[in-house]
């Protein structure tokens, strides 16, 4: 009897064990299914329907990309172009500037912790407070910079209402607001580099700048790739700055893809869903390419 019962009992406890282990994941998986999996598939489904909920195949995608009869076609392509422009310029800025500052901090001059804390500070402010402040700084006629230019006898610059100044303003605000994160992450990478390699390089007579380019940067490559991917994805989600600072102007040159998606959200959710999928696919494609590049470099 005993010899028969034992394996059965054993199996049962194993099952219990497995089941309990799974239980821990249940709350997370339930929420994940409800607020991620379900919307993901329902979003795809919605993008194939029209106003009345009828199945229309790829009609929405066709309209968005090619159908010149509808405003949202040009809106979306313009918005996508603006988002890509923002990504193309903001990402290098958000790598190079934080990297430069992180290297300065890594030299550990007096009070470097204070400077690091200070430069990281803006990231904890909410976007609307940041934009509200910068709007007052940059405004024509009543802004701080305007008054400063006037005091120096220089001509007025319409920072928020003319190009390329509107873009420049957006880059300044974005860098000011978000660079802290990258400074800190890159700084952590720099900290992990064994300081003796510098000393070795110094013994070899290499200048400091040369050491940075030949030793530091290659050793930091992994960290830079992480920061790069994070920054690219964050930059694709550009929304708050142009919405609140320039309202997409002048002449919609700063109206980014997400603004177009949101502006269609209430009136034409099926179009907005298709646009979001298109934007999302581009983001996935870019991160896949990135990953492939990173892998090839590692090999």
């Amino acid at each position: 009897m005993e010899s028969f019962e034992k394996p059965v009992l054993h199996k049962l406890t194993v099952f219990k064990k497995q089941f309990y282990g799974f239980l821990f994941a249940v709350p997370f998986l339930a929420i994940f299914a409800l607020f991620f999996i379900y919307p993901f598939f329902s979003g795809i489904a919605v993008s194939f329907t029209n106003r009345k909920g009828e199945w229309v195949g790829f009609q929405n995608y066709y309209n968005i990309l090619f159908n010149k009869d509808f405003v949202y076609q040009s809106d979306f392509l313009r918005g996508l172009g603006n988002t890509l422009l923002f990504v193309a310029i903001s990402v290098p800025l958000l790598i190079v500037i934080p990297l430069f500052i992180a290297i300065l901090l890594d030299i550990k001059p007096a009070g470097y912790k204070f400077f690091r804390a200070l430069l990281f500070m803006p990231t904890v402010f909410s976007i609307s407070a940041v934009v509200l402040m910068w709007k007052r700084v940059l405004e024509v006629e009543t802004g701080f910079v305007d008054a400063a230019l006037k005091a120096m006898g220089m001509s007025q610059i319409d920072f928020l209402g003319s190009q390329p100044w509107a873009w420049i303003s957006l880059f300044v605000v974005t860098v000011w607001w978000t660079m802290g994160t990258n400074i800190v992450i890159l700084g952590a990478g720099l900290k992990n580099i064994d300081k003796t390699v510098y000393e070795a390089a110094a013994i070899d007579g290499a200048s400091y700048l040369k050491t940075v380019f030949t030793i530091t940067l290659p050793l930091l490559a992994g960290q830079i790739v992480v920061v790069l991917i994070m920054t690219i994805l964050a930059s694709f989600n550009i929304y708050g700055q142009p919405l609140l600072l320039t309202a997409g102007g002048p002449e919609r040159t700063t109206q980014v893809a997400l603004m177009v998606i949101v502006s269609n959200l209430f009136d034409r959710p099926y179009v907005a869903a298709s646009m979001a999928l298109l934007l999302g696919l581009i983001m996935i494609a870019i991160s896949l390419i990135q990953a492939a590049f990173a892998r090839r470099r590692n090999d």
């Binding site: 309990y20 994941a25 804390a117 904890v124 909410s126 509200l132 890159l186």
Partner: protein, 288 residues
Amino acid sequence: MEKKPQKYKAKFNIGERRRKIVALVLLILISLLCVLPLLWAFGTSFKKNALTDIMSIIPREFSFDNYIKLFSDENSPVLRWLLNSFMVSGVHTVLYLIVAALAGYAFGVAKWKGRDVVFGLLLATAMVPSVINLVPLYKLITSMNLNGNVLALILPGLGGVLYMMLIRQYFMSVPKELIEAAQLEGLGQFGIFLRIIVPLCSSAFMVAGMMTFIGSWNDYLWPSIAMAGVESKYLTLPLGIAKLLGDNNIQYGMTMAGAITSMLPTLIVYLILQNKIIESVANTGSKS
């Protein structure tokens, strides 16, 4: 022969001292540039006539009028917005840590059939940009009748994969021997989770908690959609300040007071916890 390396060492030190000075000067310049707008906004919020006294950083005529106006104006309940934001971000963070810790245990420590398959699928979804779910999520909360409800801000983010994976990674670094010893002592799964794993990984919660809180605090896009339709006093801070910004508003100094008021609480929290926060951010970079 023995002197040679020392000589180089000395040279290295001189270079290092010079480098430190250059770095210090550059950092001072950069920092000044970054703090200038903040100082100006701070000064402006105390100006009696913000519009006729634009340039100065220290107000020519000092007054609290802007703050008095801001707090007495029923259209800009800034303190209420702050409270709402703290509540939403706080509740969200606590719930997320509970849910994510349990899941982190399930995927990192516990063993069950299909665990790695499910985790692999979760890992794959981390690549899906959140923008894809924006529209259907809006439709979902509409059908759940959660428009304008704080639950719409708190719940969806609880399924976030990123920091769950971070917590899991910390959990996995707990030595197996400890877990086995606890098992021998008769601790069950939940006991192991609560008594062994969680206390050993408090830094994981610090990191994930801070990042979740800051993320939730600064979120603008989703709240602006989910909270469309609520009375002004139920808004979160970013939405409220955006309203202040969009309102036809001639109270120039008052809007600056609004910006400063909304920055202060996070600033204070940041000043107290700055080392922990910076450490958290540094860690997210290396773990992901």
